[in-house]
């Protein structure tokens, strides 16, 4: 069609001596603006049909517009670190803001994401120390060797990794597949923006299943145990996080602190430990003014006044008044448990029941907490609550 139009342009000999520019413009406007428009329409209809055929066996799919169809394009490079070598790179708070992030083919580097993300993949990295702030979904490590990874996330997954040290706060059960020489520990970290970022990612510092690892490929099949990973419950061991060239990190003047002191994540020694630290006590602390600060202050007080008792595990879970009545065999806390999720603390040690009970009667905790009366009832309360939590996640 365009060829034809041009042909007619050339054929307009009669007007050639006149103002060519104007005539040409007129002719062009007739052909160039109108005819090709229909052509474009035909092409796009055909393209649509072709597209439909490629999206469905019948071609009857409607090419609907979704929220992601017309979103502003982002630069993928802003949300990935690829081929980084011998460097320390940092994303500061507010620079990722809930996007997905990819870390790929990095070597001997320190990578810090001090922001919350939707999900993160770490692929083909060697000799790196990686910190990932609160991750709303999953973090997935594949083909990583000799890496230290520190992360707060809903899910933690690995496949085809060797010698990784994972310091985590994970809301669900961490899983590994074809991974050897892994080490798991309770993440200890704090920085000013962390609390808000945890909220954005929908995570709780008390929902930490770091020690409840599931191995899809145990090397001792049938025995129910795996030699592919180790749990490090020692508080001191977690303080020595293997970062590369710590002096360069110092230069960054980060407000982040990876020490157990002041950690936003309570330190737990972990459930899967074969070690028993003495009597078991179950402490339930309710939400007050939409916050779990009361539970925080209980843990802090226990730490300073009763350092001999160990915090084995923590959980934060929404429990309906009906479920709570069934578990505690009393409906005395129906009002409290309707205020929000309950924090469950599992303490072990000499006279743990008596010690916890005593602290729970202090004025600030008195009406907002329950401690199981005996070790036996503590076990059944902890088991019931953990069954309830598991049921909600499948």
């Amino acid at each position: 069609m365009t060829d034809q139009g041009e042909g007619e342009d050339e054929g307009s000999v009669v007007v050639r001596h006149e103002d060519m520019g104007q005539v040409m413009a007129l002719v062009r406007s007739l052909f160039v603006t109108e005819l090709p428009r229909t052509e474009v329409a035909t092409i796009s209809a055909e393209a649509d049909m072709l597209k439909r055929r490629r999206l469905s066996s019948s071609g009857n799919i409607s090419l609907k517009t979704y929220s992601w169809s017309n979103r502003a394009p982002v630069n993928p490079g802003d949300y990935s670190y690829v081929d980084v070598e011998n460097k320390t790179l940092t994303k500061s708070p507010g620079t990722i803001n809930g996007h997905q992030f990819i870390i790929e083919r990095c070597r001997n580097s320190n990578i810090f994401l001090f922001d919350w993300t939707d999900s993160v993949t770490v692929l083909d990295c060697t000799g790196c120390a990686i910190f990932v702030g609160p991750c709303k979904g999953s973090i997935f490590l594949r083909h990583c060797v000799d890496c230290t990874i520190l992360v707060l996330s809903q899910q933690f997954r690995t496949r085809d990794c060797r010698r990784i040290a994972a310091y985590i706060c994970c809301a669900t059960q961490p899983i590994i597949e074809n991974t050897v020489g892994a080490k798991f520990a309770c993440l200890q970290v704090n920085y000013p923006e962390l609390e808000d970022q945890m909220k954005s990612a929908g995570l709780s510092a008390f929902n930490n299943n770091w020690s409840h690892v599931h191995d899809f490929t145990p090397n001792s099949e049938g025995l129910g145990t795996s030699h592919n990973y180790l749990l490090v419950g020692d508080n001191l061991a977690t303080a020595k996080v293997g970062l590369n060239e710590p002096e360069t990190i110092g230069e960054l003047d980060l407000a982040a602190n990876f020490d157990p002191t002041g950690s936003f994540i309570p330190h737990t020694v972990g459930l899967s430990q074969t070690k028993v630290f003495g009597e078991t006590s179950a402490v339930l602390i309710f939400t007050v003014n939409k916050s779990n600060n009361l539970a925080r202050s209980f843990v802090k007080t226990m730490q300073s006044e009763h350092p001999g008792l160990v915090l084995v595990s923590t959980k934060e879970i929404a429990v309906s008044p009906g479920d709570l009545q069934r578990i505690l065999r009393t409906n005395a806390f129906a009002v409290q448990c309707a205020q929000g999720p309950v924090v469950v603390l599992n303490y072990q040690g000499l006279n743990a029941v008596t010690v916890c009970k005593k602290l729970s009667t202090a004025p600030e905790f008195a009406t907002q907490s329950v401690v199981s009366d005996t070790e036996q009832s503590a076990h059944s309360t902890l088991d019931s609550l953990s069954d309830l939590a598991e049921m909600k996640m499948n």
């Binding site: 055929r53 999206l55 979704y66 929220s67 993949t121 809903q154 899910q155 909600k392």
Partner: protein, 181 residues
């Protein structure tokens, strides 16, 4: 659309049980999809170790959805769940571009299974909301879906966590359920 709404729409077809099978690689979003379909909370979902099943019953209809774990190690067990499948829902993480080849391979294997012969397949191009997600048509091309000739198929972009696009997928399932005698 939840499962109950889906069942109500089924009323025009004869009474029977319907079996949907949810498959796909690990971390694709199968369990989130399952929970979304059952209108359950999807903010906390744990990686599946074996399988999850949700059943909904309404006015003589029973809908069973099976969600099978997707780790490489446990994929050989998928075949134990093929029998009597009415529709296969294959979930893909659209933002995990490095595993398009792997997921394409697994899908190819499924299409060769006798027990799944002729079973309509809905491919959910999940996680479309993510920053690095590939659009559905790109995935369809990569998977060579247009070469499937022996059954009804469709690829549906979606975001299982918000539910966007899920209903459109279910509508297709409804129209393509085979009449079983």
């Amino acid at each position: 659309m939840g499962l109950l709404a889906f069942l109500r729409k089924l009323k025009s077809t004869p009474d029977r049980d319907i079996r949907m099978l949810l498959l796909g690689l690990d971390n694709a979003g199968k369990t989130t999809m399952l929970k979304k379909l059952a209108t359950e909370d999807v903010t906390h979902v744990t990686p599946t170790q074996g399988f999850n099943i949700k059943s909904v019953q309404s006015a003589g209809f029973k809908l069973n959805i099976w969600d099978i774990g997707g780790q490489r190690k446990i994929r050989p067990y998928w075949k134990n769940y093929f029998e009597n499948t009415d529709v296969l829902i294959y979930v893909i993480d659209s933002a995990d571009r490095h595993r398009f080849e792997e997921t394409s391979g697994e899908l190819g294997e499924l299409l060769l299974e006798d027990k799944l012969g002729g079973v309509p397949i809905l491919v959910f191009a999940n996680k479309q909301d993510l920053t690095h997600a590939a659009p559905a048509h790109e995935i369809a091309e990569g998977l060579q879906l247009h070469t499937i000739r022996d059954r009804a198929w469709q690829i549906q972009p979606c975001c299982a966590t918000s539910g966007e696009g899920v209903r459109d997928g279910l509508d297709w399932v409804l129209k393509n359920l085979p009449v079983r005698k």
